[in-house]
């Protein structure tokens, strides 16, 4: 074989390997999706979503865990959003190249890499024990807020940076102060990007289990929590409990698959909205 033919042959082989890899990904995803859907779709119904778990969690639906997860998301976002967006704004508009900026940037990056179980330990030692909130919705929500902070900072920073410099120049040329420029020019044009980022953060927070295990997730709670200082059930933790310590595995099996489907739907649904909206936005901005 001549050298050229050998090279062509090598190219073909590698192309085939890459195609095989891509196809394998699609096959695995399709297989898992079909398997899960097949196991779980029968229990999915309106009652499944609107009934609390009954009879030692062997029958009934997933209303309480579902509401609990939504409550946790709300508390987490209420804490993380103001801080996260302000920090992103600081990076994009106010930061000069000094030591503090560098330390802050490294801190945010380190936070993004901290394992979720460490956030759980942190939440336990600070919110549950040190601040004495106890194991409750507030502690778990605050822990999840800390977890999502780096994500929101990164997203907001990129959103503010994406606003064209011309907007700022035009605003300053009209005599606006920096504060007025930020509030009236930058924030409106960055808002949509930030919102997509927040949707993505919600998708991330909704599926987290380890941080809430010892900060506020309940093994079982008969009612929906009405105050910040009650324990809540959460969908991911509910799945964990059913899968590992259920009294009657066969009876709860359909519920487990149903709950898994609802969780995937919740997480992937919100993330898909975020990802697609972001793609649309970047298309609009021509980035």
């Amino acid at each position: 074989m001549s050298r050229t033919r050998q090279r062509r042959f090598c190219d073909r082989i590698m192309t085939a390997v890459f195609w095989f890899c891509g196809a394998a990904l699609l096959v695995v995803i399709a297989a898992v999706a079909i398997f899960l859907f097949n196991r779980g779709w029968r229990v999915l119904s309106f009652e499944f979503l609107t009934q609390p778990p009954k009879d030692g969690m062997t029958t009934g639906g997933i209303l309480t865990p579902l509401i609990g997860t939504i409550q946790l998301i709300i508390v987490a976002m209420l804490t993380a959003l103001p801080v996260g967006i302000m920090t992103g704004l600081y990076f994009a508009e106010y930061a000069t190249d000094n030591l503090f900026t560098k330390v802050l940037r490294i801190s945010i990056r380190s936070l993004a890499g901290v394992p979720s179980v460490i956030f759980g330990l942190f939440g336990l030692s600070v919110f549950v024990v040190f601040m004495n909130f106890g194991s409750c919705l507030l502690s778990a929500g605050l822990t999840l807020g800390c977890l999502s902070l780096p994500l929101i900072v990164t997203v907001s920073e990129q959103a503010f940076l994406a606003v064209p410099q011309d907007y700022r120049d035009a605003s300053y040329a009209l005599g606006a102060t920096k504060y007025q420029t930020v509030v009236k020019v930058l924030s409106p044009s960055a808002a949509s990007t930030i919102i997509t980022g927040v949707i993505l953060a919600i998708g991330r927070v909704a599926g987290e289990t380890a941080p809430i295990m010892f900060t506020g997730a309940a093994y079982f709670a008969p009612e929906i929590a009405l105050s910040l200082f009650e324990q809540v059930m959460a969908l991911p933790y509910h799945i964990y409990v059913l899968a590992t310590s259920s009294t009657d595995v066969n009876a709860t099996m359909p519920i487990q698959y149903g709950a898994i489907l609802v969780l995937i739907g919740l997480v992937l649904g919100t993330s898909a909205i975020g990802v697609i909206a972001r793609a649309k936005l970047s298309h609009r901005d021509g980035r």
């Binding site: 190219d11 195609w19 190249d97 802050l104 990056r109 179980v117 460490i118 800390c146 599926g207």
Partner: protein, 300 residues
């Protein structure tokens, strides 16, 4: 980050403007404080264990019996579990992720590319509890039967599942690195008569290498810190694994499994925080390494 000259000097803004900028600054301090507090509280709750047990007995002893009297707090099996699961999953998953990234960035037709990118990103959002659940209910029983081994809840199953967790993350980050390689480089390579594979292997990948290695490190870090999968599938035996089919008990699952039943302030409680501190320091080290690699890549 903006250059200093790009930022308008806001000397004309008056007091309202200054207050706003102080306020934004004050909020931003929260990020530093949070990281500092995490380190502080983990160290504050973890280091007291050293009063009762020496650091040598914690890091190099083989027995983890925390609830006995006196407790045996040898974390070597736990560390071995974490390291072995992380290494094995990285060895299996990183090449696959790399192939997928190259496929998406270089080989797939243009229309397919954006579809795969969205798919990979969405896969990265799948909660780890879902993967752990599938592993526990499907993969582990199947492995147990197919390979005729004592338990399907072992190191190999865990590593495979961890691999599935990190493949989308590493693939989509590496894909970004590959996509940002300038087209001129590819054109130049093709103009010299190189085949596509040669262009990818000798031009595109070397150029994107800092981004790819940083992505790989982030993937390793994710596998290291993953809790729910190992908690459900690793088997939970605190032994140093001798084969792929031994159950393991990594640091993360030890913390998650035992923290719930541990009285606050006991030696066991402090020991679990110490395990967390070890884990945190390892991840910070990996994170800083990936940050340094990225920075060096940008400068080139």
């Amino acid at each position: 980050m903006r250059k200093k000259s790009d930022i308008a000097q806001n000397s004309f803004g008056g007091r309202g403007d200054r207050i706003a900028s102080y306020l934004i600054f004050a909020f931003s301090v929260a990020g530093v404080l949070l990281m500092a507090f995490i380190l502080l509280f983990l160290a504050g709750n973890g280091l007291p264990v050293l009063k009762e047990v020496s650091i040598k007995d914690i890091l190099f002893a083989f027995d983890w019996y925390p609830v006995e009297d006196p407790p045996a707090l040898g974390m070597l099996p736990l560390i071995a579990g974490t390291v072995s699961a992380t290494l094995l999953s990285s060895v299996m998953a990183l090449p696959v992720a790399f192939l997928l990234a190259v496929f998406t960035a270089e080989i797939a037709p243009r229309r397919m590319r954006s579809g795969i990118k969205v798919l990979l990103e969405l896969l990265g959002f799948i909660p780890s509890i879902v993967i752990g659940f599938l592993g526990m209910m499907v993969l582990a029983p199947w492995m147990q039967g197919a390979l005729n081994i004592a338990t399907g809840l072992n190191l190999l199953t865990t590593s495979i599942l961890l691999g599935f967790l990190i493949i989308p993350l590493v693939a989509s980050l590496s894909e970004e690195a590959l996509s940002s390689v300038p087209y001129e480089l590819r054109d130049a390579s093709y103009a010299l008569g190189a085949t596509r594979w040669e262009t990818i292997f000798k031009v595109v990948v070397p150029y994107a290498l800092p981004g790819i290695s940083s992505a790989a490190l982030l993937g390793i870090m994710r596998a290291l810190g993953e809790t729910m999968i190992v908690l459900m599938v690793a088997g939970g035996a605190a032994i140093v694994p001798r084969s792929f089919f031994d159950p393991v008990r990594p640091l993360t699952s030890t913390i998650a499994a035992e923290m719930g039943e541990t009285p606050v302030g006991s030696t066991h409680y402090h020991a679990l925080f110490f395990a967390g501190l070890i884990l945190l320091l390892i991840t910070i080290a990996i994170n800083l390494a990936s940050y340094a690699i990225e920075k060096r890549g940008v400068r080139q």
